[in-house]
Amino acid sequence: MEAVFNSTIIIGILTAAIRLATPYIFASIGEAFAQTSGVVNLGVDGIMLVGAFIAFYIQLQTGNLLFAVLGAMGAGILMGLLMSLISVTLRAEQGISGIGLYMFGFGLSSLMFKKLVGTVQHVDGFKPLHIPFLADIPYLGEIFFQQSLPVYGAFLLIPISWFILDKTTWGLKIKAVGQNPAAADSLGVNVDVVRYFSVTFGSMLAGIAGASLSLAMVNLFQENLTAGLGFIAVALVYFGGWRPVGIMAGALLFSTVNAFQLFMQVLGVNLPSDVANMLPYLITIVALVAVTSKVRSPAALNKPFDRAEN
């Protein structure tokens, strides 16, 4: 048991937990924007898959990480516009259109991967970036300040998105549209425009989440790389009560579970890998049971808005 309490292993797990929280945070914060405006985007996993592939492929071809991330963002924006067209303009049942978007993204990423790449290949991803002085703090430096750029970006996104949602006019409009679109409309807020923006901005973040997965976590692409991570990210929004800090807490919970999975053998935990793989999904269900009745969702969540009917 001594090995379990070895400080190297504890630091290893915590470092991995911070790193692995990145895709969850990007995807969940993006979903929080969409949901705060009243649109559930269940296609996050599909957007992440396309973003992950595009970023991977651009990096493979050009070796330019900036272009890779921009490509993933572009893919996210396009898919967000598609989702908005179907769910906002055409007022589709959001649960189903999101699944359609997921299937589309899943298929498209597999199609492109098989046609353009074919076999699993590694690429050079983001390198760890030591933050001067802070990286030298014992223990904490290694855990927090020797991570790669997307990791810092994800954690910076928490205060930024809190500021946008809580302190700016745009944030207020997004919330108003998600709470009472008819009232917002009567005050001159263009409900459709705000929802288009929120869904598309959120999808762009989902694209980045995908890129962070393929270029900062595993440095490769394979079919169904996300393995449902995008759906867990949607659940995290409920778990976090639509607040960025709550979402970060949820993301860290899941990333810690993932980190434990990585270190299971080192820790000598004798759990079949199939059972270990079930854990995040089981925890998601338990978490949903625990929080669903306690949090208040945006009142107009999942409800298309039609001016003609109000």
């Binding site: 899943f106 298929g107 199609l111 449902g228 998601t284 269900i285």
Partner: protein, 376 residues
């Protein structure tokens, strides 16, 4: 989306057939399919593939020869079964994404039952195995149904999570207690179960093909589901809950109960689909048993207008698309993942068009009103 008049008529159980409405209902999915083909075609051009060639290859693969048509029926069978469950759930406005997991549980149930009671005669073993698969699949649908009814847990998220859990469960069992003993003695350790006793096989309908009695079972169940949804009180309540949960609550219908029931039934039908794959096609449980039918079944159900009568041709159509895509992959090296792209786009455009169909039907109502006024 339906107008209040239509809702009322549907609730009274005597839907008068309005032919222009039927025309809209049929033509919109077809338009959605054409649009999906167009957009996939554009994507194919970007991937340096001739879209016309790819589509031609799908079409000839699916409809060009007898073997393709029979194989399409084989693939249509699980689509129809899963689609029936999806139809019941969606009619209660419960979105069941858990088809994959429910198929797995049904397949696990069928395999375990048939192997455990392998001494039983065929006339007893086949029906009880099917029932076992219905129950295990229904159990996997009951969990999200119960969580939704009791704790208001979003069923889309819980069913997605249960899919992942079921997959791991199958991996665990098929590499453990259910693993083929022959594979262990020969040292192959394939992730598959022992072969079922022949007494548990569903009879093959066409020699030298995989088409089996499961197809007949599926069609019979489709008719039963139609009767259930439109001719029984429980079915009426399920549809009422879906059309207007608030009104149903005021009418004294226990909304959460009927939503949970519809999810449980949906799981049962998907479970039977898993059993048919095991008992009729592969004769054992192996990895990839779901064939993605849990998702493509959703597409078939939506395309079929969430109605058993529409679902039968829709299942055949998507079954043949899946067969055609496999043929295309072999003939032209275009990955069959293309079909997933198409399925996703079809879902998007079909749900997107429901708003348009509402607009169109409103327009025709206004037109009729105008006529009435003119007559006066």
């Amino acid at each position: 989306m339906k107008t209040p008049e239509m809702k009322e008529k549907e609730l009274t159980g005597k839907p008068p057939i309005s032919w222009d409405q039927v025309l809209v209902q049929i033509s919109l999915p077809i338009l959605a399919m054409i649009l999906a083909l167009l957009i996939s075609g554009i994507l194919l051009v970007f991937l340096d593939v001739e879209p016309i060639e790819a589509y031609k290859s799908i079409f000839t693969g699916a409809f060009g020869e007898k073997a393709g048509i029979i194989q399409s029926l084989v693939k249509a069978t699980p689509l129809l079964l899963v689609g029936l469950g999806i139809t019941i759930a969606f009619r209660a406005s419960v979105i069941n994404i858990g088809g994959e997991g429910q198929i797995i549980l049904g397949a696990l149930g069928a395999t375990s039952w048939a192997l455990y009671f392998r001494e039983w005669p065929s006339w007893l073993l086949v029906p009880t195995t099917l029932i076992a698969s219905f129950i295990t699949g229904a159990f996997w649908g009951f969990i999200p149904g119960f969580l939704k009814a009791k704790f208001k847990v979003n069923e889309i998220l819980s069913t997605v999570m249960l899919n992942a859990i079921a997959l791991q469960l199958m991996n665990l069992l098929v590499r453990g207690p259910l693993m083929d003993p022959e594979g262990i003695t020969s040292g192959m350790f394939l992730a598959q179960s022992e072969k079922l006793p022949t007494t548990a096989w569903l009879p093959r309908l066409v020699p030298q093909s995989l088409l089996n009695a499961g197809a007949i079972i599926a069609v019979v169940l489709a008719i039963l589901v139609y009767i259930f949804l439109w001719r029984t009180t429980i079915g009426f309540r399920i549809r009422a809950v879906g059309l207007n949960p608030h009104a149903s609550r005021y009418a004294g219908i226990n909304v959460p109960f009927y939503q949970a029931l519809s999810l449980t039934l949906a799981g049962g039908f998907a479970g039977v689909a898993g059993a048919v794959e095991v008992m009729g096609v592969h004769h054992r449980l192996l990895e990839g048993i779901t064939g993605g039918y849990g998702f493509s079944g959703i597409v078939a159900a939506l395309f079929g207008g969430l109605h058993p009568v529409g679902l039968i041709p829709a299942s055949y159509l998507f079954g043949s698309l899946l067969v055609g895509a496999d043929k295309m992959q072999r003939a032209t090296q275009v990955p069959s993942a293309l079909i997933q792209v198409l399925l996703g786009l079809v879902v998007l455009f079909v749900v997107g068009s429901s708003y348009l169909s509402k607009k169109i039907s409103l327009k025709s109502i206004f037109r009729n009103k105008k006529k009435e006024i003119e007559v006066q």
